[in-house]
């Protein structure tokens, strides 16, 4: 097999993320510089505008997963009574706080001056952040994003979000002790908007055959949009990545030597098994070309009004994939199948993420029966390797690919 052509921009990401975490870590000892811990779907633009450094426990936990240190960190939380049935990100984060171990040069995240929790990604974050509030004894700003059961988001939910975001602006201003800089806020929203659009454009480039990179690559290149959304560095990074992808398309560089099958991925990455999964699917000439997970970080509300930025922002923070019911998710999956010419969908039934995994069987049934799209369910966990078995998952993947290739013949 020909050597896979590595993605050059990856080196730049390591630099960018390394710098960000160094800066955040340095800020820990600067009393003037406020640090806030925030959930991945949180309205971070308000923090940037107020000069606060955001830190994402979910991203830090994912790094621990990738470095394969999450099990020992989770064990610390479990020893303190946090159930193994809890989300492994929550256990990794709390375990990291309790043990002082973490992925940033062996250290945990810099301590927060306050916390921002938005429940548009799950309900677990509510209790998780309350626990952090208890441990650190710092203010907790909570944004309650109503779950959207229908395909269309409810205007009163957007009103409710807007009221909360305006209140958050006041709360943050009070904590940092400065007047809120509305001009900087508007600039930040524009930077964020640009980054989100770039991230979507990059993922859309994977429609091309052969795909210039695969979903396992996008899992890695996800970090800047999660942690640096709203900064110039994030835009520059994705502009470079996009240019490289266009170049690869032009040169016909694919992620596989012989891309025979194209698959979609649903749910979080399995951080400690990215290499295993990538190799196993490659053996079957199958490229994963799109995922609901990485696309979750580029949702913008359908009928957002760009002339009213805070209202558009309120709508966007409701608009994510997992803040929606099954009709919405089915529509999105089917759209993905068509746009990316998928031969099947791989669903990671993720023990940690109920909000994401709930309903997957129903979605799988809809995909199979309504649209004739083969679906594979893999039982695993995003960060807890104890939920994983190479042999069992490998066997299912092999059987799934045998099924797809028999049908295609």
């Amino acid at each position: 097999m020909a050597q896979k052509v590595p993605i050059k921009t990856t080196a730049k990401m390591k630099e960018l993320m390394g710098f960000y975490y160094m800066m955040a870590k340095a800020a820990e000892s600067d009393p003037e510089q406020k640090i806030a811990w925030i959930t991945s779907g949180g309205p971070v633009e308000i923090l940037h505008a107020a000069g606060v450094i955001p830190v994402y426990p979910e991203n830090v936990a994912a790094m621990s997963g990738t470095l394969k240190i999450s099990d020992e960190i989770c064990a610390v939380a479990e020893e303190q009574g946090f159930s193994r049935d809890l989300c492994s990100y929550a256990r990794t984060d709390i375990g990291s706080v309790l043990s002082g171990k973490g992925p940033i040069m062996g250290m945990p995240s810099p301590k927060p001056d306050f916390l921002v929790c938005c429940n548009n990604i799950c309900g677990t974050v509510t209790k998780w952040y309350e626990e952090l509030q208890r441990i650190f004894n710092v203010p907790l700003i909570f944004i309650d994003a109503p779950f959207q059961y229908g395909v269309k988001d409810r205007p009163e939910a957007i009103d409710y979000m807007e009221a909360q975001l305006r209140r958050m602006i006041d709360q943050v201003s009070e904590i940092v002790g400065k007047r809120f800089d509305w001009d900087k806020f508007m600039d930040t929203l524009q930077l964020s908007d640009r980054a989100v659009k770039l991230w979507r454009e990059i993922q859309d480039l994977l429609r091309h055959r052969p795909a210039p990179m695969n979903s396992f690559d996008t899992f890695i290149h996800l970090a800047p949009i999660v942690t640096l959304r709203g900064t110039q560095g994030c835009i520059e990074y994705y502009e470079t990545l996009k240019a490289e992808m266009l170049e690869r398309i032009e040169q016909g560089i694919g992620t596989l030597e012989n891309e025979e099958y194209r698959l979609g991925w649903d749910n979080l990455a399995i951080w400690y098994k990215i290499k295993f999964l990538s190799e196993r699917f490659s053996q079957h000439n199958a490229a994963l070309v799109v995922s609901t997970y990485t696309r979750s970080f580029c949702y913008q509300a359908e009928d957002r009004d760009p002339s009213n930025p805070i209202r558009a922002m309120s709508a966007d923070y409701l608009a994510g994939y997992i803040n929606h019911g099954l009709d919405f998710r089915e529509r999105e999956l089917w759209q993905m199948v068509q746009d990316f010419s998928l031969d099947g969908i791989v669903m990671h039934s993720n023990r940690s993420c109920r909000a994401y995994s709930f309903g997957q069987y129903e979605l799988a049934r809809a995909m199979e029966e309504k649209y004739g799209v083969p679906v594979l369910l893999i039982e695993a966990d995003q960060n807890d390797t104890r939920m994983w078995s190479d042999e069992q998952v490998g066997n299912r993947i092999d059987a799934f690919m045998e099924r797809i290739s028999a049908k295609k013949r």
Binding site: P374, S389, E391, Q392, N395, A399, E402, R403, K407
Partner: protein, 267 residues
């Protein structure tokens, strides 16, 4: 003229199975032995056992060896390896052309496979995280009750009544059985309850795929009449059991070997 044979090897967690077929796809010989933790050796032995039935091992002309089961990658000089899902579907379809649904209850996992009308895998589910709903569950219970595994099915069918086993976990069910014994509950009732518990678990798996008759039950547990009784009652449909339910996967593997050989020779 020398006969050409095709060998299917199914190296499972509990037993290793070999099936030898000829060019006409007829089964010429088969063998089943306990795996006993040594997958490689079991594969070698069961292969020899099957070949010896048709002639001297080194003189039998095997054109293709297809392996399946958890130990499939360990089989030496295999033509290729194929998963149990595809092999069971293949074997079941060949045995009964109209079968649409295969339930395989093996030693360490169970599978439900929906077939298309022409025998291709439409959809499948596996239970491989939990011993409940597999042969292992009954094996553990046979030890607790001190009843040979082979007798469990008949005792269950003749019981008429069953004790309720509420736990679906093998470990908890074991303590539940011990407590039922302590309460003086009749052993046949407990045994019937255990067969029901396995069937309920498997029924849940099958329902996720969408049970579509005609149904075939394969794997070692298909020999247990108690499970067959409860499973068909839960599904509400007759369940067909092939003559040798344990070798369906190995048979499917042998067929895949024959098909790829014959396709190649046409080309």
């Amino acid at each position: 003229m020398r006969s050409i044979y095709f060998l299917g090897l199914d190296i499972g967690s509990a037993t290793a199975k070999a099936v030898l077929i000829n060019e006409k796809r007829d089964i010429c010989s088969w063998a089943v032995i306990p795996t006993g933790g040594r997958l490689l050796e079991a594969g070698e032995k069961v292969r020899r056992d099957a070949l010896e039935i048709v002639g001297r091992v080194d003189e039998v002309h095997v054109e293709a060896v297809v392996s399946t089961g958890y130990g499939r990658e360990l089989v030496r000089d295999k033509t290729r390896s194929v998963t149990e899902i595809t092999c069971h579907a293949k074997g079941a379809h060949e045995l009964m052309k109209d079968v649409r649904f295969v339930i395989d209850i093996g030693g360490q996992d169970s599978k439900a496979i929906l077939l298309s009308k022409d025998g291709l895998v439409e959809r499948f589910e596996m239970n491989d995280k939990c011993a409940a709903g597999t042969g292992r569950f009954l094996e553990v219970m046979s030890r607790v009750l001190n009843i040979p595994l082979e007798e469990i099915g008949d005792i269950a069918v003749n019981s008429g009544e069953f004790a309720k086993i509420s736990s679906t976990c093998t470990v908890f069910a074991e303590s539940e059985v011990i407590s039922l014994l302590a309460q003086g509950v009749d052993i046949p009732k407990i045994v019937s309850g255990l067969c029901k518990a396995v069937s309920e678990r498997v029924y849940g798996l099958a329902s996720r795929v969408g049970v579509t008759p005609p149904i075939m039950l394969t794997g070692g547990v298909a020999k247990n009449r108690g499970v067959v009784y409860w499973l068909s009652k839960l599904i509400g449909s007759e369940i067909r059991i092939p003559e040798n339910p344990q070798i369906v996967g190995a048979y499917g593997a042998a067929l895949i070997g024959a098909e790829s050989y014959l396709n190649l020779s046409i080309k």
